[in-house]
Symmetry: C2
Subunit: 427 residues, 2 copies
């Protein structure tokens, strides 16, 4: 602890104030392997949180690919190199045929920053719609989509928000088709409002899994109506796959496939290089070329041979270790376990998710569904004390966020569940 | 060639149109080492262009640092880690005492995107001034600074441009103090114009070496007057060190030190991790905390342990191999050689630069100084044919851009000069 205090003081001096640390007692990590991480005192933690080390912390095949390519050549895309071509060919093969070209960036934020301009290039308009509890990244342009912190100089006026969908408390009070209709109506209102503005309607950008919104359980075809509304209005649909992509949902390689839609533009980041900084934008040839014609774009590090080697190794491991299938099987098992805990603990109001992105919404009362946000904070801190790392999220910040590296096993799930059982019992 | 044609077709199919390749006959690189790169046919090229592999292509110490840390732990800054603290401590030690904290990003573009918001947070204003031939990166916000391509929806109205300084053709026709006064006056006009606008004056952002503007030879203290004007107007001075930083000018570790000024915010990128994607923003504690208070900011990959290990290894090599000193000595030697070539070739109008960022401005006539832009294109293509990679830049696109990896030796300079002599003779 006193060691941590000194580290925290040094951190504030060198990195500034308000740098988040997740837990009341921050974790000082020094080592990672698979689904495990170790702190400076040699204590081991089960990682139920980190999706960036997608195929497992320090996966030897990814490390080896990075080391080999870094020792061979690392330069930019103004020279020809087969690494980026092989990777983009492989990546786009996982999509609908209409999504066949890519721009590689270094982060998901850069990818979304490009995606917004792609939609501008195609439509000639600048108005964007997002949900009111979204997060699409940290660039100046992309942070305008978030309502959490008004920028200096004010919002640009070109953003409209639709309510974050909440399947547990559906808009209009009804689930199923009524909910879908109500939400699509809210979207159409936002579209009409933008059309009347000087900005016009350019795009709807959503995480097709609504991850930050709390990964709500939605009626089948929920986004199909939204996609139709967007197309009818001449706009583009951007799916941010930073969280659900690369097989995490267990059933589909991409979140938009899970949602049953085909977007115009897809963005990705976090898990793509297992921690190596790489992101990307996938679109149709026409959409991408419209962007390349309307904007100059060059990204020095984007698509460099080392980044492409890391990203290719991630695809290799996903395939060879059948990690999407693992996500499906273990996710189902763990959700069943969580539901079972719900029989003992009234706090568990709603268990949901897909594959290895799931959790429970904690409520003070199952009838009123009053969010147990403070208790959620206590739960994740208590889990950390007992050696299990997880987070919380959602509009009410009362859902546990369980999103481990993809090699997460049934044994790992059992450990997580038994510690959670303990923690809930001890509240 | 036919191999290249197939690669180019595949590239256009997968990456889209208008992806620049530098040369008429693009280079297909497969290997790099020190100041050398090799193409797919095994042909070796002297690299006189790339500043990203700052301490040399595939430097074994950087590769080893990346491989070791990637195999140990790679995660984000919400957990405590000493790697980022050790690096930021070391990095900020190279600056004036007032510049003592940092935010790490993945690219120079992200760094400038943050820097603009830092200035907004401090001043409460959003108006920015840049030169009319600058490039500060590829995000939507930062590309608004460039006049090369008007964005869809138009410029935000918050940007003013001052003329790119040209020491060879000084503003008002006179060099020395008159030039400095004329340029500072143009800056003051832009400041006043912004102050009268709804945006107010937030910051001047410049590369202190004016790299993209053609690294002009400027009167001593040129930017000192500019810095004073900015401070007097309540604005912040942002220095973009993506190109001159990390000892490249030979005489100083940072371009702003070379220019004799202390900025409020410093941004960096390209050479920082020798090709590994890392960038950063250095500022005073107060400036950084103002940003952290006004904006939410978290960068998933920024400051991760692997990036910090790569960046630390770059500092190690710079120190141990005395590369800044090498840049000074070899740069001086090479410029003398270029000047000597000027005695034979009338095309060489002006030799300038510092350390290992230098070149010659090619002119059709030394009296009228008419830019030989097309010839410059022919020259760099002919150099490439003869195994020497360099570029061109500047307002008139007629200056050779010689900016090799820092271990560039006198022998390397001799080779470059003799090939250039040949090429110029053969025009």
């Amino acid at each position: 602890m006193s060691n941590n205090a000194a580290l925290l003081a040094r951190r504030e001096r060198l990195l500034g104030k308000n740098v988040s640390t997740f837990y009341n007692d921050p974790v000082h990590l020094v080592k990672g392997e698979g689904v495990w991480v170790w702190d400076a005192d040699g204590r081991r933690y089960l990682d139920c949180y980190n999706n960036v080390p997608h195929v497992g912390h320090c996966h030897p095949r990814v490390v080896e690919a990075i080391a080999r390519q870094a020792a061979t050549l690392n330069t930019h895309t103004r020279y020809l190199h087969e690494g980026i071509l092989d990777y983009v060919e492989r990546l786009t093969a996982t999509f609908d045929d209409s999504l066949d070209t890519a721009i590689l960036t270094c982060t998901g934020s850069e990818a979304n920053d490009v995606a917004l301009r792609m939609a501008q290039a195609v439509t000639g308009k600048t108005g964007v719609i997002a949900t009111n509890f979204t997060y699409h990244g940290n660039t100046a342009a992309v942070s305008q989509l978030s309502i959490r912190m008004p920028p200096v100089g004010g919002y640009g006026g070109h953003v409209r928000h639709v309510p974050a969908p909440d399947g547990y408390r559906p808009l209009g009070g009804e689930g199923g088709e009524a909910f879908t209709r109500a939400w699509t109506e809210a979207l159409n209102e936002a579209i009409e409002d933008l059309k009347k503005s000087p900005f016009g309607f350019s795009a709807l950008i959503v995480c097709p899994y609504f991850a930050n919104e709390g990964f709500p359980q939605l009626p089948p075809g929920f986004l199909v109506s939204a996609a139709e509304a967007v197309r009818k209005a001449g706009g583009l649909l951007i799916c941010d796959e930073v969280q659900p992509g690369f097989g995490r949902t267990g059933s589909h390689f991409w979140g938009h496939q899970y949602a049953g839609i085909t977007p115009d533009i897809v963005t990705m980041g976090k898990p793509m290089g297992n921690g190596h900084p790489i992101g990307g934008v996938v679109a149709s040839t026409d959409t991408l070329n419209a962007f390349r014609k309307a904007f100059r774009y060059f990204n020095t590090f984007g698509g460099n041979p080392v980044s492409c080697a890391a990203a290719s190794a991630v695809l290799d491991v996903l395939e060879d270790e059948k990690l999407m299938e693992n996500a499906r099987v273990v996710g189902e098992y763990a959700r069943a376990g969580l539901s079972k805990l719900g029989e003992k603990h009234d706090l568990i109001g709603n268990v949901r998710g897909s594959g290895l992105f799931f959790g429970a919404e904690l409520v003070l009362d199952r009838t009123t569904k009053e969010p147990a946000s403070d208790i959620a904070t206590r739960v994740i801190n208590a889990m950390r004390e007992r050696g299990v790392l997880m987070g919380k999220l959602g509009v009410k910040q009362n859902a546990t966020k369980i999103r481990p590296p993809m090699p997460f096993s049934k044994d790992n799930a059992d450990l997580m569940l038994s510690v959670l059982d303990d923690v809930l019992a001890g509240l």
